[in-house]
């Protein structure tokens, strides 16, 4: 074949390859710069006992999950049964960050759908959310024994993500 024929064809092929790869990327999944960085510190009141506060420092020495949720968040409702199921297996403690929510609504929501959280922390004004780079609830972080963020999932969890990504990582981090 002549160069005049195959060069434009090759260029077209490269273009198609790029566009095809682009189609598969999810523009909503922004890579977090916080991966492999220490989880930002905070001290927030507990949802079930506002007189008590908790900070991530208290969880040093264990692998834990931080799930950002809110009663107004529709996708949270979809992932919630999975979290309840995961909490029953006891493989990893789940802490909730109740993001920009009303305490009454949040309590009623947990009452209705079940409470998978070891504790829920109230981030009423969303400041802690900003520190964690939250931009679309629900978001889930996996934090290791040293308090380093090891994984972040944006959007609702799926059975596949839990089975194939989160649980293997929890085992790895606990090893």
């Amino acid at each position: 074949m002549k160069a005049r024929t195959w060069i434009p064809l090759a260029v077209f092929g490269v273009l198609v390859a790029f566009l095809a790869a682009g189609l598969k990327l999810d523009p909503r999944e922004v890579p977090s710069p916080l991966i492999d960085k220490p989880a930002p510190l905070f001290s927030l009141p507990l949802l079930h006992d506002p007189t008590q506060a908790m900070s991530p420092g208290q969880l040093k020495g264990q692998v834990w999950m931080l799930n950002v949720w809110a009663s107004w968040c529709v996708s949270c409702r979809h992932e919630h049964p999975l979290l309840v199921q995961l909490s029953r297996t006891g493989q990893v403690p789940i802490y909730g960050l109740d993001y920009k929510d009303k305490v009454g609504d949040a309590l009623a929501w947990l009452e209705q759908f079940g409470n998978p959280y070891t504790q829920s922390l109230v981030d009423a004004d969303g400041r802690v959310g900003i520190d964690y780079g939250v931009y679309g609830v629900p978001e889930t972080y996996l934090i290791d024994k040293e308090g380093i963020i090891r994984y972040k999932h944006i959007g609702p969890l799926t059975p596949k993500v839990i089975e194939e990504t989160i649980l293997p990582r929890v085992r790895e981090l606990n090893a």
Binding site: V30, P33, I130, G133, Y135, G136
Partner: protein, 168 residues
């Protein structure tokens, strides 16, 4: 009385505007928009350069998303504390990554993004130049005619002279 009736609407307007002026004072969560015009101007200029993560094709300045409003407030407070634009941008990049910047920095991962268009122009331009040169070379052939060509020219001219050529 007539006089009073005529001025009544004006009075109403006056009272209404006074009420409007007093309203922000009782607003639940006053967005201190006009607190400090210098900071507001700086905030808007900076927010134009930053991407809203919720509605990704809008800047932080345009977006009505809750998060955008929160981030504008955060930036406003940092400006009031006297932090520089660079410090504020670094703060946001540490949390949301280069994605928040409409003008991401040049580094290994963004090299293709920055250099790509220029590269395409250079490659396309040189291809065009080569193609044009080749064509011009083919058209403007200044080499003297060969004997064979000379003979053909002569033959064609003679044919024309015989009246077989194109009509005048």
């Amino acid at each position: 009385m007539k006089r009073f009736l005529a001025t009544a609407p004006a009075l109403l307007v006056l009272v209404a505007s006074l009420g409007a002026a007093a309203a922000p004072a009782v607003a639940r969560e006053a967005a201190p928009l006009a607190d400090d015009p210098v900071i507001e101007k700086r905030l808007m200029a900076l927010a134009e350069e930053l991407r809203c993560l919720v509605c990704q094709n809008q800047s932080l300045a345009d977006s009505h998303a809750d998060l955008a409003a929160d981030l504008r407030q955060e930036i406003r407070e940092m400006m009031q504390q006297g932090r520089s634009d660079k410090e504020i941008v670094d703060y946001l990049v540490a949390r949301y990554g280069d994605f928040v910047l409409y003008r991401p920095p040049f580094k290994a991962t963004t090299a293709l993004l920055w250099a790509g268009p220029a590269l395409l122009v250079v490659v396309g331009g040189s291809m065009l130049t080569v193609a044009l040169r080749r064509r011009r070379g083919a058209l403007a052939d200044d080499a003297p005619l060969s004997e064979e060509e000379q003979a053909r020219v002569k033959r064609l001219l003679e044919e024309e002279a015989d009246g077989e050529g194109p009509r005048a």
